[in-house]
C-alpha cells in the first residue's frame, strides 16, 4: 500500500514538528549550562533558582487561584449557557446569544482584552485579581458551553421525562438525573477552562492590576529579556502537570470503557 506509507510519513513528520520543540525545551531545563546550544551536563540547578524566585512563585500562586475560580465560574455559566442553547429553542435574542457564545472562540485576544478593560474603566472598577477572573470567566464559559452542548445534544430526554413522570420536580430532576449524567462533559469543560486561564497572556495583561501578575505575564516579561533556563524549568513543570492531568483523564476514560465492555458481557450472560 503506497497510500499507507505516505500516511505514515506525513504523520511522523507532523508529530515530530509538533513535539520536537517541546522535548528540546524540557531537555534544556536540565542543562547545567546557561547557553542553549551547549550541553553542560544534567543539573537541577534551574529548578532551584526558579524555586527561590519569589516573583515567579507569587505569579504561579496567583495563576492557580485565578484558574480555579474562573474555571469554576466559567463552568457554571457555560453549563447554563449550553442548557439554554440546547433546551430553549425559542427565546428573545437567541441569535444574539448563540453569537455571543461562538464569537469569543475566534475573537482576537487583543480585542477581547482591550474592550473588557475599557468596560472596567468605564464602570470605575479597579483592575486586579477579580477583573482578571471576570475576563477569564467570560471567555472560558464559551468553551465550556461548546463542550457541554455537544453532550446535551445526545442526551436521552426520556430519562428526564421518566423522572418527572415519577414525581420528581424539574429542578430536582436536573440535579438527580441530568447533572450526574453530563458530569464527564462538565469536568472536561472545567479542565479546558482551567488550562485556557492558565495559558492566557493577552487578556490578562489588559485586565490585570497591581499584585495580580499571572504566570504568563511574568514569563512573557522575562522571555522578552532573553531565553533563560529558569523559564525552561517552569515551563517543564507546567507541561508535566498538564501531561499528568491528561494521562489521568485518559486512564479514567479507559477504565470506564473497560467497565462498559464488562457490563455488556454480564448483560449478555444475565438470563433469568
Amino acid at each position: 500500500m503506497r497510500a499507507s506509507r505516505f500516511d505514515a510519513t506525513v504523520l511522523t513528520l507532523g508529530f515530530a514538528f509538533l513535539y520536537i520543540p517541546i522535548v528540546i525545551l524540557v531537555i534544556y531545563s536540565f542543562n547545567a549550562s546557561r547557553l542553549v546550544t551547549v550541553w553542560g551536563g544534567f543539573s537541577l540547578n534551574w529548578y532551584r533558582t526558579m524555586w527561590s524566585n519569589q516573583g515567579l512563585m507569587d505569579a504561579a500562586w496567583v495563576t492557580a487561584r485565578v484558574g480555579v475560580i474562573s474555571a469554576t465560574l466559567g463552568t457554571v455559566l457555560g453549563t447554563l449557557a449550553a442548557l439554554a442553547l440546547v433546551r430553549f429553542s425559542r427565546f428573545p435574542g437567541r441569535m444574539l446569544f448563540s453569537g455571543m457564545i461562538y464569537a469569543p472562540l475566534v475573537m482576537p485576544e487583543v480585542i477581547t482584552g482591550l474592550s473588557m478593560l475599557l468596560l472596567f474603566v468605564a464602570l470605575n472598577i479597579d483592575r486586579g485579581f477579580w477583573t482578571v477572573i471576570i475576563a477569564h470567566t467570560t471567555f472560558t464559559m464559551c468553551y465550556v458551553a461548546i463542550v457541554v452542548q455537544s453532550r446535551l445534544l445526545t442526551f436521552d430526554r426520556s430519562l428526564e421525562e421518566a423522572a418527572l413522570d415519577l414525581g420528581c420536580p424539574p429542578v430536582k430532576t436536573f440535579f438527580k438525573i441530568t447533572l450526574p449524567l453530563i458530569m464527564p462533559a462538565v469536568i472536561a469543560g472545567w479542565m479546558l477552562a482551567f488550562t485556557l486561564s492558565l495559558d492566557d497572556l493577552v487578556i490578562a495583561s489588559f485586565n490585570t492590576g497591581p499584585g495580580a501578575t499571572t504566570l504568563p505575564i511574568k514569563i512573557y516579561s522575562q522571555v522578552r529579556l532573553g531565553v533563560t533556563p529558569e523559564i525552561n524549568a517552569i515551563c517543564t513543570i507546567l507541561i508535566g502537570l498538564v501531561t499528568i492531568g491528561v494521562i489521568i483523564a485518559s486512564i479514567g476514560t479507559k477504565r470506564a470503557e473497560m467497565r462498559r465492555i464488562r457490563d455488556e458481557h454480564v448483560a449478555a450472560r444475565g438470563t433469568t
Binding site: 497510500a3 500516511d7 506525513v10 504523520l11 507532523g14 514538528f17 509538533l18 513535539y19 520543540p21 517541546i22 528540546i24 525545551l25 542553549v36 546550544t37 447554563l80 449557557a81 442548557l83 433546551r87 429553542s89 425559542r90 427565546f91 446569544f97 453569537g99 455571543m100 461562538y102 464569537a103 469569543p104 472562540l105 475566534v106 475573537m107 482576537p108 487583543v110 480585542i111 482591550l114 474592550s115 473588557m116 475599557l118 468596560l119 474603566v121 468605564a122 471576570i134 467570560t138 464559559m141 430526554r157 424539574p170 495559558d199 497572556l201 493577552v202 489588559f206 504568563p216 514569563i219 512573557y220 522571555v223 522578552r224 531565553v227 515551563c235 507541561i239 498538564v242 492531568g245 491528561v246
Partner: protein
C-alpha cells in the same frame, strides 16, 4: 413518532427555567457585548492626557445627546493618514492568508492520514494532536526562540551536518519566516481537528463506489473526498484565519522590528504610547475586517448543531 421536540413542554416559564437563560445571557451582554459598544465610543473620543487616558465616558445617560454632538472621527482619520496603520492591516491580512494556506497544506495530509488510519489507532492520534494544545501557547512559542535564534539549535544542527560553515548562522529569528513557523506550529491542531472531523465521518464506500465505477484513486480524491471535506476546510480556515489576523504574541516574540501585525500595533499604542482612543479605533477597524469571516464561522457552527 409525532413528538416534535421543539416547543417541547407547555409554555409555563418557571423561574428556574428562565434563570438558565438569563444568567449566562446577562453575563455575556455585560462582559462581552457591552465592551464593544464602549470600545466604539472611546474610539470616537479625544485623547486626554489624564488617567484614565481618555475623556470620561458615562456622565449619565443624559449626556448621550451631548456625546452625539461631539462625535469625533479624528482617531480614524489619523489611522488613514499614517501609512503605518494601513500597512499593518494589510500585512496582518497577508500573513494570515499565507499562514492559513500553509496550515491547510500541512494540516490536510495529516488529517487525511489520521482519518485513514486503523480505527483502533485514531483516538491516540487525535490525542496526540490535542495534547500540545493543552500546553501553554506562550511556552510553545518560547520553545522556538531557542531553536531559531542565530546561536540556537537550528544553527548548531546545520553546522554539525555541514550545511553551514562554522561561522555562519541561520538568519531566521526576528523575521517573517520565524512568524510563519510560529503561527503554523501554534495553530496546527486547530486546523487538523476540524479537517479530521469532516474526513473521518466520510463514508468509505463512496470511494469504493468511485473506484468500482472506474475512477482512479487520485482522481477519486479530487472528485469525492475533497469536495465532501469542504465544510471542514472552511471551519478550520476560519478558526485559524480570524485569530491569526489579530495575533500578538507570535509576531512580538519571533518577528522582527519590520514585522507589522495589527495586534502588535494595537498593543504598542495601548501599552507603549498609552493612546487608548487610538488603540480602540485600531480594534474597531480590525473587528470590521473580521465581521465577514466571523459570520462565516458562526454559520458553519450553526450547521453543526
Amino acid at each position: 413518532m409525532a413528538t416534535v421536540s421543539e416547543t417541547h413542554t407547555a409554555k409555563k416559564p418557571s423561574p428556574a427555567r428562565w434563570l438558565v437563560v438569563a444568567v449566562p445571557y446577562v453575563w455575556l451582554l455585560l462582559f462581552f457585548a457591552a465592551p464593544f459598544l464602549i470600545i466604539l465610543k472611546i474610539s470616537l473620543s479625544d485623547t486626554a492626557i489624564a488617567m484614565p487616558p481618555y475623556t470620561p465616558l458615562f456622565q449619565g445617560f443624559g449626556a448621550l445627546g451631548d456625546f452625539a454632538s461631539k462625535l469625533d472621527f479624528e482617531n480614524y482619520l489619523f489611522l488613514t493618514d499614517d501609512p503605518l496603520y494601513i500597512r499593518s492591516y494589510l500585512s496582518s491580512l497577508r500573513i494570515a492568508v499565507i499562514s492559513t494556506f500553509l496550515l491547510l497544506l500541512i494540516g490536510y495530509p495529516m488529517a487525511l492520514a489520521m482519518a485513514r488510519a486503523p480505527t483502533s489507532l485514531r483516538p491516540t492520534l487525535v490525542m496526540l494532536v490535542i495534547l500540545p494544545f493543552w500546553t501553554s501557547f506562550l511556552i510553545r512559542v518560547y520553545a522556538w526562540i531557542g531553536i531559531l535564534k542565530p546561536d540556537g539549535l537550528l544553527t548548531l544542527l546545520l553546522q554539525t551536518i555541514g550545511l553551514l560553515g562554522p561561522n555562519e548562522q541561520v538568519q531566521i529569528f526576528r523575521t517573517d519566516i520565524a512568524v510563519f513557523i510560529g503561527i503554523v506550529y501554534s495553530y496546527l491542531p486547530f486546523m487538523v481537528l476540524p479537517l479530521y472531523a469532516a474526513l473521518e465521518k466520510m463514508d468509505n464506500t463512496l470511494l469504493e463506489a468511485a473506484n468500482d465505477l472506474g475512477c482512479p484513486p487520485l482522481k477519486a480524491f479530487w472528485k469525492i473526498t475533497f469536495p465532501l471535506s469542504l465544510p471542514g476546510v472552511v471551519a478550520g480556515s476560519m478558526i485559524c484565519f480570524i485569530p491569526i489576523t489579530g495575533e500578538f504574541v507570535i509576531p512580538d516574540l519571533l518577528g522582527g522590528a519590520d514585522t507589522l501585525m495589527i495586534g502588535k500595533t494595537l498593543w504598542t499604542e495601548f501599552f507603549g504610547n498609552r493612546d487608548w482612543p487610538l488603540a480602540s479605533a485600531v480594534a474597531v477597524i480590525l473587528l470590521v475586517m473580521l465581521v465577514v469571516p466571523i459570520a462565516i464561522f458562526q454559520n458553519q457552527q450553526k450547521k453543526v448543531v
